[in-house]
Amino acid sequence: MNDMLRIDNLHKRFGDLTVLAGIDMRVAAGETVVLLGSSGCGKSTLLRCINFMETPSAGRIYLHGRLVGEQRNGGMRYRERELCKLRTRIGMVFQHFNLFPHMTVLQNIMEGQVTVLKRGASEAANKAREQLARVGLSDKASEYPARLSGGQKQRVAIARALAMDPDIMLFDEVTSALDPELVGEVLKTMRQLTEEGMTMVVVTHELGFAYHVANRVLFLDQGVILEQGEPQQVLKQPATQRMREFLDGHSLFKLPD
């Protein structure tokens, strides 16, 4: 049992709208899983349930084999303190970077370490520099976010999440807001993380990344995981009609033979 993340029968409703209708999913330590699905199918919602930015309507989530929350008369109860702690172990990177504009790059990467993990300033600064080097932006430490390109911002955001030493990283369409020529540098950083053995759940429309980097691809459709498997399998020989239609919509992407 070396699942880093295990999700059992996860449901999420917004009022009358059921977005997730029973998700079962496991992510092994060191695995990179790509989550595919058409727009509005609930990919972000699923990611946000994993770090409890959204509270699941039902279901269980285990991190490192430990159940998050407590069981109370059939349902789950979550304490904000526990969730805050949990989130420090789950890194999240957003489509729109969400860097803190009033802080330098270095301060951005130090913030969570100092405020949440209570690391000392010099330890946090060292760690921040380490992570900046990892994403190839050592020379930008004292720059403000406004002066970075989109690709650089996103790599800083990745460094900010990594500095917390997370067990798992969540990426929500992190290249969707970038100019096409800047997508590559971010994907390269993510690929490098995969190779270093980081556990990752990645929502993306970059099928090339899914094909070449992912260990596994999941296809989310109508609230459930309709299809999953190795990328070569799922992307080239989809088993379901829905998946075939989804892939046809991405005709710009040419899979290598």
Binding site: E80, R87, F94, N98, L99, H102, Y144, A146, M164
Partner: protein, 221 residues
């Protein structure tokens, strides 16, 4: 209308005005601190999700935003002691009236500032494991305050000028002292012109200073 301007009586009584200005500055210091400081608290509560915080702060804002300061000062001076048996001196009445009103107005400024921050900033803080107050204090407020600084400056100027309302309960401040001089020397024109001048001379450099501060803050982005 041929008025022969004569400031001799004013100059002879400069100490009277000086005492008044000290009173003005005292009431200003108290009201601007309480008003803008307390307003931040009310504004944050106004934005809170918990009804226990949001509803009372909302009621507070509506009550004090929609009643005249002058009436509040008079009410605290004459009505409050009768209702509670607590003695209220002119300084306290004026400070309460002006501060509460300023809290109500500045609370709305702070709230608008907090609301202007992109939701992604809250999310980023939360995703790092920060608690609500930590995100508010470290991420949201620094940027929000910077954005509302011009509006707060305006409020501050307003507060300074509102201090003259304290004269209604005979608090010793600039306008009240000028009235004293005017009544004794029959020179209302010179007396009240001097009051206007004093306010201008104090405010103008301060306002210029805040412009410079705003420009410096903008550059740091």
């Amino acid at each position: 209308m041929n008025h022969a301007w004569d400031f001799a009586a004013i100059l002879a009584n400069w100490q009277v005005l000086w005492v008044g200005l000290q009173g003005t500055l005292t009431v200003f210091a108290a009201t601007v601190t309480l008003g803008l400081g307390g307003g931040l608290l009310v504004g944050v509560c106004r934005y809170a999700k918990m009804p226990l915080l949001r509803l009372p702060s909302m009621a507070f804002v509506e009550v004090f935003r929609n009643t005249p300061v002058l009436v509040q000062i008079i009410w605290f001076y004459y009505a409050f002691p009768i209702l509670t048996g607590v003695e209220v001196n002119p300084f306290l009445a004026a400070t309460l009236g002006i501060s509460l009103n300023t809290m109500a107005f500045s609370a709305e400024i702070y709230r608008a500032g907090i609301q202007s921050i992109e939701p992604g900033q809250w999310e980023a803080g939360k995703a790092l494991g920060m608690a609500y107050q930590q995100t508010l204090r470290r991420i949201i407020l620094p940027v929000a305050l910077k954005r509302v600084l011009p509006a707060l400056t305006n409020r501050g100027i307003e507060v300074f000028k509102m201090s003259t309302l304290a004269s209604v309960v005979a608090y010793i401040e600039t306008l009240n002292q000028a009235k004293l001089i005017a009544d004794l020397n029959f020179n209302p024109i010179e007396s009240y012109t001097t009051v206007a001048l004093i306010f201008f001379v104090v405010l103008y450099p301060v306002v210029q200073g805040t412009y410079i501060l705003e420009r410096m803050l903008r550059k740091s982005e």
